[in-house]
């Protein structure tokens, strides 16, 4: 018996994947050509699994501001803001995000994962309750585990089930944080946030919304699902990431609660993590400005998303419940998913392969994410690749 015995199931799963010729978690992009193209296995490949929703990773404004910051402020901050001090960029980005979300304050974190981990584990502790959607991201589950609070799941996107569980909690509802996501990362479905906010208000609980996949994607101004559903005033904490629509890395929490700044000092994931590099902050600020100034990016993203969803639906694939920049193709058998993922890559299309137990319902998924950087022609090529790599052909 050794420390490493518990990793044997992973070793076996990896061996099985390697034997089937699929190295989905070891894909190397030999050269990244644009937000939507890279060289993979020596082949020019359309990227349809990046979460680069607004396609800003190569935008000249973002690249130039990052280069300027790199030259003027160096490569890194070499420590946390609590110990090493704040850079002007950290402060400016927090102000700009607070202005964007129309909230009192914002805390910037080094990654989106750390934002969830730090906020959830700091906000709640023993005696409190976390009531989370069953399909929540791993960073939410991990933050919950770290908190010491009681963790209860409610059925995915089911306001009635949420209401029932709050009723069972009785007076403890006032010490309960409901956690949902704006858009869910696997199937691209949206939270029924108006109903959830109403239930939250009636029971006197708190509401935290993770807008990782909905920032820049939903809402008239791109503020996310809470804006789209018209319930921003009911959301106590908005958490998000810079690594998707904003094309960098980092996370944030936005809130109107005056106590948010206190949490900064109690938040171990903030206090004991090196702060984001100046170049990352600079490109994020530029991307946020572009998100605000160019709503047409969002419109283009949705046009391409609807185009791909319709094409794949016409081909008879089983998809997530609604069109979205995340389009999940469900396949009945793991072998079909593996064969089709390889077939797509051979035809120059990269998507995400999601196998059990990572998928929420135990099925196998080919998860596409659409970008405002995709042209209609690229969308058609993706759909054509799905046609040509269809399971019946791939397995035939």
């Amino acid at each position: 018996m050794t420390l490493f015995d518990k990793f044997q199931p992973i070793a076996e799963a990896r061996r099985a994947l390697a034997e089937s010729g699929v190295e989905s978690i070891n894909v190397v992009m030999e050269q990244v050509l644009s937000p939507t193209e890279a060289m993979i296995n020596g082949r020019r490949t359309i990227l349809a699994g990046t979460n680069n929703y607004l396609g800003l990773t190569f935008h000249p404004d973002c690249v130039e501001s990052a280069c300027r910051a790199l030259r003027s402020e160096g490569t890194g901050t070499t420590g946390s803001r609590a110990a090493n001090g704040n850079y002007n960029g950290h402060m400016a980005l927090e102000r700009e995000l607070a202005d964007f979300f129309k909230v009192r304050s914002v805390i910037v974190f080094s990654t989106g994962y750390v934002a969830n981990l730090g906020m959830i584990s700091t906000l709640t502790g023993p005696g409190d309750v976390l009531l989370i959607d069953a399909d929540s991201h791993a960073s939410i589950y991990d933050g919950c585990r770290l908190s010491g609070a009681e963790i209860i799941r409610f059925r995915h996107n089911d306001p009635d089930d949420l209401n029932k569980r709050l009723r069972r909690l009785g007076e403890r509802a006032s010490r309960t944080v409901i956690i949902v996501e704006g858009i869910y990362s696997m199937f691209g479905d949206r939270a029924p946030l108006a109903e959830i906010a109403d239930i939250k208000r009636r029971h006197g609980a708190y509401l935290l919304v993770d807008e990782a996949h909905s920032l820049g994607v939903l809402g008239e101004h791109g503020r996310g699902r809470a804006e789209e559903a018209g319930v921003e005033s009911e959301v106590d904490f908005i958490i998000g990431t810079f690594s998707k629509s904003l094309g960098a890395i980092g996370g944030y929490c936005a809130s109107n609660h005056p106590e948010l700044d206190l949490l900064r000092y109690a938040n171990r994931a903030y206090v004991f993590t090196a702060s984001p590099s100046p170049s990352v902050i600079a490109s994020t600020r530029s991307a946020l400005a572009l998100l605000r100034a160019h709503p047409e990016l969002r419109r283009h993203l949705w046009e391409q998303s609807r185009r791909l969803y319709a094409r794949l639906a016409d081909l008879g694939f089983q998809l997530g419940p609604e069109p979205s920049p995340i389009i999940a193709v469900r396949l009945p058998a793991r072998e079909q998913a593996l064969a089709m993922w390889c077939g797509l890559l051979e035809r120059g299309v990269y998507v995400n392969l999601v196998l059990p137990p990572a998928s929420p319902d135990g099925g196998s998924l080919l998860r596409c994410s659409v970008s405002a950087g995709h042209t209609p022609e690229q969308i058609d090529l993706i759909a054509q690749a799905f046609t040509d790599a269809h399971p019946t052909r791939a397995l035939g």
Binding site: A134, C144, E150, I151, I152, R153, R155, R165, R168, L169, P356, P357, D361, G362
Partner: protein
Amino acid sequence: MPGYDEILQQVVELIKPIAPPERPVEADTDLVADLEFDSLKVMNLIEQVEDRFDISVPLNILPDIRTVKDFTVQLQGLIERASP
């Protein structure tokens, strides 16, 4: 309020349809080692139990559960706590 034996009987009733058909389901049955339950099956079982007894089962109890009996004992505590 149901006692231990009644809860056990109902839990066994809920487990049997999702367990491998040839495996016996008793108090000492290990959910993972004997019934090969993965996390998805455990979560499905929890949802059914929650509906049956009108309780919410916190995920925090999962590390303490190996057998059907462990699960039943935890449920008994939750049912008692939920009773007025």
